[in-house]
Amino acid sequence: MKIRQSYNIREFGVPERSPGAGRIDRRLLYNFDFLLMFLIIILTTAGMANLYSATAVTDLGLFRSQISWLPVCVGVMILFFSINYTLLEGMTYRIYLVVCALLLAVDLTGYTSHGAQRWLNIGLFKLQPSEFAKIALVLALVQYFYNNPNVKGYSLREVLAPLGLLILPFLMVIKQPDLGTAGLLILIAFTLFIYVGVRKSVLLWIAVVGSGSLPILWFFILKAYQKTRILTFFNPDKDPLRTGYHIKQSLIAVGSGRWFGTGYLKGTQSGLRFLPEQHTDFTFSVFAEEWGFVGSVLLLLLFLALIGRALIIASRSKDRFGTLLSVGIAALIFWQVAINVGMCLGIFPVVGVPLPFFSYGRSALLTIFISAGLLLNISSRRFMF
């Protein structure tokens, strides 16, 4: 994809690449972000333990496949940590295009489950490219805004290209259909737009076009079950035994956790399979029932710490690319946690957004470990320029 260069590229320039890029040197270990690593380890542990509890009565095979996938994820995380992220700068669009190709492949030949065509069988495991689309989009947008810095705020013409970067995977994801991921792509992109600064007129235009396209979305793109889910969210008692059932059961599970929870592996609602999709969408409800208010708040604080850490990494980063990428990843994590937990707590429609480190899904886990690797990468290289 050809990206039009901004008019003021000469004034801003692009920094020279660091000579030590690609090699692990002692400074890297010296500046290693142990706090971030600690957060990743503790969230991974909690996520795995919770997945065990959530699948203990349904299908422990899911847990086994997830935990056996963990070493691969860690390996990929180390890879994304050790390669100097500045090397990524030249590869971001290519990564983006590969992921878009995968999405196209899904649309053409993908594996269907739960009525949605999301998976690509690549022999070893079923790939869910829409998960990778999240990080790929972040990388591509960061690349664009890095290449095109703008102090005054981006004009409408200047955001057409990043909008294009968003719309391509968005359309392919929503066609699957995967409403959650599609929405997430928009949120991540808009977070970055607002972060880098767009003009008010752009926001206005987006608002007008966005709300104008809502009917199109509703009548031509959304499947009946997705519409019901959204309607159910606004009126969960209307059909308590079918779609509203998910939300209701989730609230019951969360509520019955009370102060300290029922105890690990003692969740009554998950243990007895009252919770739907308890290993994916409603994994937080399992956790909330078993660990109660105290545990749930602690978990949210851990996620908040992770997001906060990503923002601190952004602020400490010595280059704009690192800053933007950290913010993009922070947005990626933040929106997934907020939507997933909000969904479990009944303040967001059930749209199928995974909870990072917690929800079952190997592509999702790999994506979050790639993101974590990149954060560690940026953080540890903050003094290396």
Binding site: V151, I252, F274, G292, L311
Partner: protein
């Protein structure tokens, strides 16, 4: 500062805003967590319990009923019942759900709706359908999947009562029916649900508490697909206790055969302890008809039948006692000294008293007659004099000595106490003064006196026992399911009469004479080997006549009732039989032969028992049509 630095500084300045935004969103999430887990936690936890814990009521098998030789009279058959639990559904969804379920179960929705509205106070379970067989149940259970979460149907085992003997013992055994609204509201039925079976009549009603047993409870955990995961705790159902009756089925059968299709009542009891050996109220009904669901047409038919098949006439049928009541005047006269054995009255066939002619049943008259022959021949005129000399209030005292005018205390419900008239009673109830002529009528068992056949049997028991009156009882003992005796109904002495032994002797001799002497009205009850003592009675339904009309020429409902009460052997008697044949003629002609058949059956059964023979209950023959009862005897 170059532009890059400005831009980068600007970017970094926005990080705080991002963090602030994240904080706000997380604060909202934590706020909702607080709301769900802390504020609503208790309520949601309860809902979680509702989700996973089901309480299943385990039906307790109702106690069985045996005869005195431990032959099964009432059995249970296992059925399933579907209940609707309205609490599960929001009010506006109850009716559509019920409609749907009724259509599926092939139940009349309007009927259920009516019950639902009638029983809806307190929202207890509503029975939708009972008598569901196992195969149908399996089908119903597959529907569970459609209503996961909270399931508004409850399935329970139920035992349906089976009365293999049918009409044969319907009045003593009674029947069970669905508990009615009135009962549900009374505190003693607090653990019943609408639709539960409850004894409605007879032993089933009286011994409800013993027969019912205690419902068990099973609390178990279910998963979302309503698979039972594990039982949390359970209280097993305690089966109802079994009853062993005093009834001997063989004698009951003999009674039924002897009685044929005559309307009336017959009771046989053991004077030594009050045990009811046989009890029949005719016509009877088939208790299966009254087991729910009751066909309203059949029910109405039973209610409208002029022969009142639903009434247990032995305990609730009130009849003028007729001449059987003369023992009261005889004992009273002897005790009060108004007569002795030598007291003689002239019977010309009538007595003009107070300007009115009181007839003797024998228009020829009995001539000069004393107590013994007056009883034997049932002379009315003699007893007019005895009654007149005693006065109504003395008559009442001796009537009560024999147990008239009060409940016998039998352990079956709805017993009537009858009526022993007194001066006081008449002024109180009828607001009229007693007229002396009425005393004469009362002395021969007409007029206001009303007795039940059981009271009559108890009165003659008192005579046979020379004053000892036991409470009649139909349940011999209560046994637990494993055969242990829970409670034994010991003989209970209700009263010991103050009447002198000698008076009883004289009356007893006279009663023996009734059956065994020439000219005795009860000759048809005479037995070859056993000395029977008894008394006939022919109680007039129409007013004591100035005109003597042959009973058989009257319409049925105005014909005389035939009484015969007897005990045997006269000394150390073992059995008292009271027979009342409604509107069927003369006691000595109609009732005495029936009593004789019962007595002979009793003694032949006794001989069998002494040899240790107890025949199993095979098909009990339906009552044979009554035989011609011979000529009228005066």
């Amino acid at each position: 500062m170059d532009l890059v630095t400005i831009y980068e500084e600007k970017l970094k300045a926005k990080l705080g805003a991002f963090l602030a935004f994240a904080l706000v969103v997380f604060a909202i999430l934590i706020g909702k967590l607080w709301y769900l887990q802390i504020i609503k936690g208790h309520e949601l936890q309860r809902k979680a319990e509702v989700n996973r814990i089901r309480i299943h009521r385990v039906a307790a098998p109702r106690g069985l009923i045996y005869d005195r030789n431990h032959r099964l009279l009432v059995d249970n058959r296992l059925n399933y019942v579907v209940y609707f639990n309205p609490n599960v559904l929001p009010p506006d969804e109850r009716q559509p759900f019920l409609e749907d379920i009724c259509a599926k179960l092939n139940v009349d929705f309007e009927y259920i709706k009516k019950r639902f509205q009638a029983m809806t106070s307190g929202l207890r379970f509503i029975k939708i359908k009972s008598g569901i067989a196992r195969e149908e149940l399996a089908k119903i259970q597959t529907w569970d999947m459609e209503y996961h979460g909270e399931y508004p149907l409850e399935i329970e085992e139920e035992t349906k009562r089976e009365y293999p003997l049918g009409k044969f013992m319907a009045h003593s055994l009674g029947f069970c029916g669905e508990i009615d609204k009135q009962q549900l509201e009374s505190p003693e039925y607090v653990d019943y649900r609408p639709g539960d079976l409850v004894g409605k009549m007879g032993i089933e009603a009286t011994y409800e508490a013993d027969l019912k047993g205690i419902y068990g409870k099973e609390r178990f955990e279910e998963d979302a697909n309503r698979n039972k995961i594990r039982t949390l705790d359970s209280v097993s159902a305690k089966p109802g206790d079994n009853l062993v009756l005093t009834i001997d089925v063989d004698l009951q059968k003999a009674v039924m055969q002897a009685f044929g299709d005559t309307a009336g009542a017959i009771v046989a009891l053991d004077p030594r302890n009050g045990e009811i050996l046989a009890l029949l109220s005719n016509p009877s009904f088939n208790p299966e008809i009254l087991s729910p669901p009751v066909d309203p047409k059949q029910w109405q038919q039973l209610l409208d039948d002029p022969k009142s098949p639903l009434m247990n006439k032995v305990i609730a049928g009130l009849y003028p006692p007729g001449s059987t009541y003369k023992v009261v005047a005889a004992l009273g006269g002897l005790e009060e000294g108004t007569i002795t054995t030598r007291t003689v009255h002239l019977c010309p066939g009538f007595w003009n008293f107070g300007g009115r002619q009181f007839n003797c049943h024998s228009s020829k008259g009995h001539g000069e007659i004393a107590l013994h022959r007056a009883v034997v021949q049932s002379c009315d005129v003699f007893f007019y004099h005895v009654g007149h000399d005693l006065g109504i209030d003395n008559l009442a005292i001796y009537a009560r000595e024999l147990g008239f005018g009060e409940k016998t205390g039998i352990d079956i419900d709805s017993e009537k106490e009858g009526l022993v008239p007194t001066r006081d009673w008449k002024s109180r109830v009828k607001k009229e003064n007693w007229s002396p002529g009425e005393t004469l009528l009362c002395a021969i068992g007409q007029g206001y006196s009303l007795v039940t056949p059981l009271q009559m049997a108890v009165a003659y028991m008192t005579i046979a026992n020379h004053g000892y009156r036991y409470r009649p009882k139909i349940v011999l003992r209560i046994e637990s399911r494993d055969g242990k005796v829970v409670k034994k109904n010991e003989p209970e002495l209700m009263a010991k009469s103050n009447i002198k032994e000698h008076s009883f002797d004289l009356v007893q001799k006279a009663l023996i004479g009734v059956v065994n002497e020439d000219g005795g009205t009860g000759g048809r009850a005479r037995m070859d080997s056993i000395l029977v003592a008894g008394k006939t009675g022919t109680s007039q339904v129409t007013g004591m006549g100035k005109h003597k009309i042959k009973s058989s020429s009257l319409p049925y409902e105005r014909r005389d009732h035939a009484w015969f009460v007897c005990y045997a052997p006269a000394e150390n008697s073992e059995i008292v039989v009271a027979v009342l044949a409604e509107h069927s003629g003369h006691g000595g002609v109609v009732a005495a032969p029936i009593a004789r058949q019962v007595l002979s059956a009793y003694f032949s059964i006794k001989r069998q028992r002494e040899k240790g023979i107890v025949q199993p209950i095979v098909d009990i023959a339906p009552p044979s049509p009554s035989e011609a009862k011979g000529n009228e005897l005066d």
